[in-house]
Symmetry: D4
């Protein structure tokens, strides 16, 4: 079994990317999870180039207590679907703007999953990277009052914020 | 306050549609939730025509113990985003194939949410209607062993199924 | 009630943006209104992050004599639809070219409004930002002869203009 | 001058279509205007096949007291832009789903007007046909208390409506 | 291991579909292979619902002498990419026109494979189903003179064909 | 009548642009016509901002012996259709890549002309700008042996050209 | 040489189709040419399946006095480009709505020709089929006064036509 | 016959480009073939500008022992289809991101080939350029154990690779 991936003790969210080039975008997922106090681990594992590593990681996560998986990929973005086929955990998908078509290819490759295996899709690029983290938090908040309080505070602050125009 | 909506005691999932014309599709969400033993309630509330009812419903749900909201709409599909702005509960979005553009308009109106308020989007039409239900189940399974067992059984059966070709 | 917004005495047009990043584009709306002598006010209020502020602003405007609202947003651009649901005033929508898809997502999120609540949509980016202002002027001109004269002059000058080629 | 068009005494809205085949859709504009008590006139005039008739009609309308023009066309839908170039009146555009591309061609041919001449665009097909009428009403309501009251009543009724699901 | 699939002794082409609903289209692949005398086997195996069956099938095929795999799927069509990740055999992909977007989602989910694992994509629907079969034949013809002769004859006949117009 | 445009004695091709910003692209039309010895004139006239000038120009051209009109515009590109409605001369359309959507809006606004008034559309941007010139040449060559010979030479040279790779 | 095609003595327009299934659409090209008294010939020749026949036909036409070629094809529609590469005659392209994507694939395969070999593209489907015929007429009218008179009459009649609404 | 192209003795893959501007992308095809030890030759031949050279090259290749052709083109990308019509060899198509539409035009011009003449399409840009080379290798590996071993090694190394994140 190919277990060349990094684990973080106590991680409740696992972030996977199809390529290291997704990191500038997906680092925002990680920062958002950090900001809301969610232990997590990040790995680059390609559904296409490392299929055995994906399988090993998916089996492993459930046992280690990971509760949500966030998968980012570009182009024909199969990672989230492949992961969702291998684990009953909720899988969140972040379409990346890769080499062409402005990320529409990734969005459709994730959002248009056929019935039977669900994948929850977010916006192309960093908006989605941040929102996938927030959605994971909203899920965890259902059964964790500390997380719930932190998320309530985050949203309250966000709502109170006033953006000034330069004139 | 406009409280013209139906509540179901013990419902953990609330299904909202922007129009009664979404029901032929969204009845599959309801059937899927039934099949997996998830108490839920279904309502037609438009983000545009019934903004006060949406607000009332969102406030109400959290108090009544609803844990997930599934929102379906077509065209410029704002319902999921409006609901997500009003409640910290996880919001799942089902784009409907409405009067043109094969549902691409609804998909983009849901999936492309700006950062800050997350919405989890599923496939256009009935594939997404079924998968949103399954995703809700996967979330609820995280903290309910009975649901977890039923979901595991559902997936096992689905994996074991063999589709025959007619020749 | 969240009333963290700026009001301008005598404003007949209210310009709203979902994000301060829309200002480089929407400042052209403001400049165009200035050029045609239309008192107006500009605010950044997100339909998603500041839903209560949107509600407060909409209620407030009609009473203060604002006659037209111009709403700009990017991605899943719900602001115009949300505002139109809350006020009977005419709402003009400016789709922004945000983080991907060249603004097609914003255009569809605005133009494809379901029947019942109207939103008037203009071009993506600054062409639309300028035209929304001109359209507001054309509306106000219906009942204000001074505005009508200024608009007639603006169009006459524009028609008379001759663009030279560099050769 | 080619004056082969129908005028209605006291009409405040002029509805133009590029082809009689747009009538099944645009009859909903007419019905909506009727429902809200707005006198109007409907004509089929093509920007391409009847350019002189368009010019004559545009000059004529302003003098006769028409205040808003609603233009419907399919494919490379130039009618609204051509009309807006010829009259300072507010021009509303209804993209038709014509012979292919689900109306996306018409939507872009209307919404993407370059700066200088504004056209307000609504949804493809009957949703837009109805909303263009409602938008015209919202404009007329600014200076007509009877229209304002009828529009307020229309929206109130619409908001109060409850759509039942068949189960 | 889940080995619920059908094998055909001597098959050199394996045809896989994500759903039995792809058969009306993919039966044309089978007919074309029959017409050119290529032994093949057809199975419905979903990348998402039957991931273990896909793995088992891929391992099995190379040993049994299958030389080309043709994979059909609709929506977020991952089957071809998943298969290509599991086997070094050439993988041909047939995008299906599924429940919306006219098959564009399937086409992009197949054609836009990231570098490293190749998948050869053909046209949406039956044109692609037939051409994938012909392409497989052209590959097999490189090392089989009988196939080469049959393919040359097929193309010659096709070139000689004259389509008459009804007048 | 607004006759603020430039005429060139003996011009057989008239090139029109909706905006001076189209010149960097359309100068290639002019250069191509020069290279093939075709007298022509170039003007910036907007279908929307200068409708009377367009009308005056169209009437004028036929009398002066212009035989082909080439029209360039971006966004909702109506110029070619408006010109074709005003003159029986052949009209060639060059879609410009304007402020968004990569020129798809212009392409559809030109190519999708409804039946009755023809417009011949070429590629977005400079490829189309050059090809529209070449197409005009091919038309003029039908009745001018000198042009025919120059065009034959141009194509021969082009066919004979060998592009070397840098290795 | 493969000369399996039909010639019509005195034909000045040659209509080519990639498939007999294009005839229901392209018969409108033929009817329009008939209506305007233009001798023409129609053939089904595929750029892909009958490359030698295309070559033979192109060489032949110029000698026989054909002046314009109209090429219809669907999907990856190469016929017009291939013909334009083989003949200096003006080539008009009619994109067909084939098996998916509403004809967008055909439109782009024709309109987006790279610089050097021009192809004039018309609308998808029967609107384009009719307009290509009219455009051919407008070209022929440049040097044939009888055609010019018939075309002027056709346009005059078309402009004079009044379309009545059913109410 | 126009034989202005470069041949490489022993080449089993022929790489063709429609323009020298495709080389920065297609040089990755060449590098990938080099890396896997596949003798090949690269030429710029346009389907449109050099139709005779294409014909000559296609006839020549089969005799010289070339087994696979890889064709790259942008815009209305006809090269692969034209080549496939002229040779029974397997033809792989690489859509280029040319002057607009992000390469969607090229992708559709290649992938949507009508039935009868197959073309195998890969991703837009360099992902496809690399994968077309790998796919050619996978085909050649079917009958060449040395290639098979090198390809197995390449894929093994690729699977074993671990991409580190910068934190």
């Amino acid at each position: 079994m190919d277990q060349n991936y990094t684990t973080v003790e106590g991680a409740v969210v696992g972030v996977l990317m199809g390529s290291a080039s997704d990191w500038p975008t997906m680092s925002k997922t990680s920062e958002t999870l950090d900001k809301l106090g969610i232990a997590h681990e990040c790995n680059v594992i390609s559904a296409h180039r490392n299929p055995e590593r994906v399988t090993a990681y998916c089996r492993d996560t459930e046992q280690r207590g990971v509760k949500v998986l966030i998968c980012a990929a570009g182009g024909a973005a199969h990672l989230a679907g492949v992961v969702a086929a291998l684990t009953p955990l909720p899988v969140l998908a972040c379409p990346m703007k890769a080499w062409s078509l402005e990320g529409l290819d990734s969005l459709l490759s994730m959002a248009q999953m056929p019935k039977g295996i669900p994948v929850a899709t977010f916006a192309i690029g960093s908006a989605g990277a941040i929102n996938a983290a927030l959605f994971a938090v909203s899920m965890l908040a259902l059964n964790d009052d500390a997380v719930k309080a932190r998320y309530a505070k985050f949203r309250e602050d966000q709502s109170a914020e006033v953006q000034q125009l330069p004139r």
